[in-house]
Symmetry: C2
Subunit: 250 residues, 2 copies
DNA sequence: AATACAAAAAATGAATGCAAAATAGGTTCT
DNA sequence: AGAACCTATTTTGCATTCATTTTTTGTATT
């Protein structure tokens, strides 16, 4: 097997019928775009692997026209790259690329926190506090999966509280790019970072309660920066060790 | 004239030949994308105007396939929107959309400033200082155009100093979305904001010299926030007064 | 005259077809 | 045997064609 994509394809038989997912998209192009984006984000295609259009068409059960449109969009989103006359391949992210991505994410969350301070309600803060304590429970039980999930919910809640759809969309886009790597490399937070991260989260909550915009902005940025270091370190180790990809991992 | 696009089209006769612009793009799709993006950003198509594919094809001298690919990408970039079976139209930005865009821009620049503090050289700071004094000259001479131009250069310099290509790309994308509106509405900074803006710029420079990351982040954000208010106010006035579009303005 | 309906025209979404480029495979030459 | 070259196959980029859907135009009815 020389970097061929695995065939996990379920053809798009019923474009807008009940297919488990709640999103509906009238056009074939849109459906293909959603499917293909997930497919790439979930790490089903090895990095840098060449992706013959034909094969994807068969996998999705469509012709090349809508597929190529979707590929162009995914390229614009930064998930894949299109080499002239040489097809699409999954974008290979260098360590530097990842650092950049993490920093932009940090900036976006930092912005989200700043904006959130302006209009967030007591109820929203209370909801985040509940999540925080729930997460603390997972921390005490050393339940990494649960912890990670709630952690993500907290960050999403802050972004939601910013009340800025443009920001949210951008945030989701970048999160997808990173998630691809996360899926592929299956990296998790280092155990030793846990306590630190919990303390940072408490500082975040504290600043949020006081609606201290600048302070929250700083705290969030620093928190994400620390995350970045842990992730990059872990990834570097994995790369050196020739880590195999684990598509379904989480 | 019922919102038809004006015909300013120069067909793409020589895809990669010396066409004034320094960018070269091998594929027809890429060329079309660049041309069309500029065309939209420069405000050549009225907001919300329907854009018949056929007409654009004739204007660019190509078939519908590469054009449609480009349209999909522009839609993904947020410049136009594609209504199912009803064609593409230039995305109409509500006042809320603009506020969101400005805030995201503010967040990105704020991030840029924060990152810039980490690695910016004395030479880069000196260059920005020179720009600052040049801008001050324009301010004294009440040369709004010159002022505006240098102002933009300063902000771009800060983004460049962040040494983050991902951030820069995102920044340019959002700047384009706003620029479209700027071109169309031809809004300029209010005179009364000038003095204020100059003082803010001095504070920015000051924080930059001291590499005070958090402070610079705050100052930049606040500066952009103030810009936002001025722009939104101006735009609201213009809309109420039924301001006509001035594509070539600047 | 205004509304409702129906047919025609046009525009969109997607599939197919075709030429050019790239890759693969085989052959020749050193 | 290995490198260079040439041919065949595959793949890509774009144009064209076809089927739907939308929009327009025309007609009939109240």
């Amino acid at each position: 097997m020389k970097s061929e994509i695995p065939e996990t394809g379920v053809p798009i038989t019923q474009p807008a019928a009940g297919n488990g997912s709640d999103r509906q998209e009238a056009s074939l192009h849109g459906e293909v775009l959603l499917r293909l984006r997930d497919y790439v984000v979930e790490g089903n295609i090895p990095e840098g692997a060449r992706v013959p259009e034909r094969q994807l068409c068969e996998m999705l059960g469509i012709s090349r026209t809508p597929l190529r449109e979707a590929l162009k969009v995914l390229a614009a989103e930064g998930l894949i790259e299109l080499l002239p006359n040489r097809g699409a391949r999954v974008r290979q992210l260098s360590q530097r690329d990842l650092e950049e991505l993490f920093d932009v994410m940090a900036g976006l969350e930092s912005l989200a926190g700043r904006l959130a301070c302006e209009l967030i309600t007591d109820e929203e803060i209370a909801a985040i506090e509940r999540l925080h304590y729930e997460m603390y429970g997972h921390y005490l039980h050393r339940d990494m999966h649960g912890y990670f999930q709630i952690n993500q919910q907290i960050h999403e809640s802050i972004v939601a509280a910013a009340r800025n759809e443009t920001l949210k969309t951008t945030y989701v886009n970048f999160a997808g790019r990173i998630r691809r790597v996360r899926y592929s490399a299956n990296f998790a937070r280092k155990r030793q970072r846990w306590g630190e991260a919990m303390r940072e989260h408490e500082a975040i909550l504290d600043a949020l309660r006081r609606r201290a915009a600048s302070e929250l902005s700083d705290t969030l940025f620093q928190h994400l920066r620390n995350k970045r270091s842990a992730a990059i370190d872990h990834l570097a180790e994995g790369q050196n060790a020739g880590l195999e990809t684990t598509p379904q991992g989480d």
